[in-house]
Amino acid sequence: FTTFPGSPKWRKNHITYRIVNYTPDLPKESVDSAIEKALKVWEEVTPLNFSRLSEGEADIMISFAVGEHGDFVPFDGPGTVLAHAYAPGLGINGDAHFDDDEQWTEDTTGTNLFLVAAHELGHSLGLFHSANTEALMYPVYKSSTDLARVRLSQDDVEGIQFLYGPPPASPEVPVVPTTSSSPEPESLMCSPALSFDAVTTLRGEFLFFKDRHFWRKSLRSPEPGFYLISSFWPSLPSSMDAAYEVTNRDTVFIFKGNQFWAVRGHEEQVGYPKSIHTLGLPETVGKIDAAVSDKVKKKTYFFVEDKYWRFDEKKQSMEPGFPRKIAEDFPGVDSKVDAAFAAFGFFYFFSGSSQLEFDPNAKKVTHVLKSNTWFNC
């Protein structure tokens, strides 16, 4: 089995679902019972339980659609792609979409809705595809399945219990989902004293790094996800010093001590870590505090104590005439910079639990904020 990168899962045992619309292929009651039966498959082997909403936003929104249906992953007409679903989370995450160009049936004369629903809901709970041909999470639909004998394979059970643990009846493990020794994300996230090791953008999202974890904030959902760094990038260090994204190279650079790494999405680039001195920083610099890259000017700024260097991304070399005093060129930014990132034409500098929004064109601080204003606290 595999889980989605970062092993996203529901952080609660009671999950709501809603059947937003129905296929004309089956009576409503048949669709209701197929979905209910599909959820029960997972309920029986986990502490999870499900309740149905008839309106409003449920955790898992189930719908039937054809072609393009609003998530930029259009269905392809009859055959081939039958359905798809999204990993646990807010908004579209957790939802399951069924291609209504298929002929959905209660038996196997067409495409069996229960079978496909049980698979897709496995995704909604956090399972990715399995290479085990006997698993329900195997990606290819088996029309020859004997419906009377459908049950989860051992691989499926191990996968879902990796995320949520066994059902409460089993004496060995506690009822609540296993939690890592990480701090309770919600309380830390909204703590007024929260500071960051590093902050960067990544393909339109925002990553806020702290010790061994990071918050992943997308503008599409009000609350960030909370992940172990190692669950995405096993060889990246914890408690990093700085991070920045060079968008036209689709690469995020991560710094700790006198080394830096490069990642593209969740793929770690080979040939790293490299020494920060290969960038042109002098040997006297042992580490950097923060870094930010300006994608318009194609310049990257490295902040060390009260000074900064500027790197020309086009020439791939450090510019002459540096270091300069931060306070001289970034008036108002006069305490040590812990982290920085660029977005919406501004630089955001983090120092302790404070955040400064800086307009690089007007060369002035436009807002003084708390560090966790991005978290909807």
């Binding site: 990168p5 081939t80 798809h84 995704h123 990715f128 290479a131 041909t133 990606p139 290819v140």
Partner: protein, 82 residues
Amino acid sequence: YPLHSRAGDEDSGMELLQKYLENYYGLAKDGKQFIRKKTSSPVVKKIQEMQKFLGLEMTGKLDSSTMDVMLKPRCGVPDVGG
């Protein structure tokens, strides 16, 4: 219509293979002529990765059993990658 029977089918087979590897196995969509690259080691590796995942013999080629599985209905979520 009959599969694999006409030479032209190879093109549509290649096209299906390219789409399958792009959609489900993270093959980069770089627009270059896939057919010309099909014997290059990165593409062969990708085909083998797919065949291994789907429980097929890892020939690295578009053989008939691989084509059969690719034509079967399936889930739209990728098999590997994010």
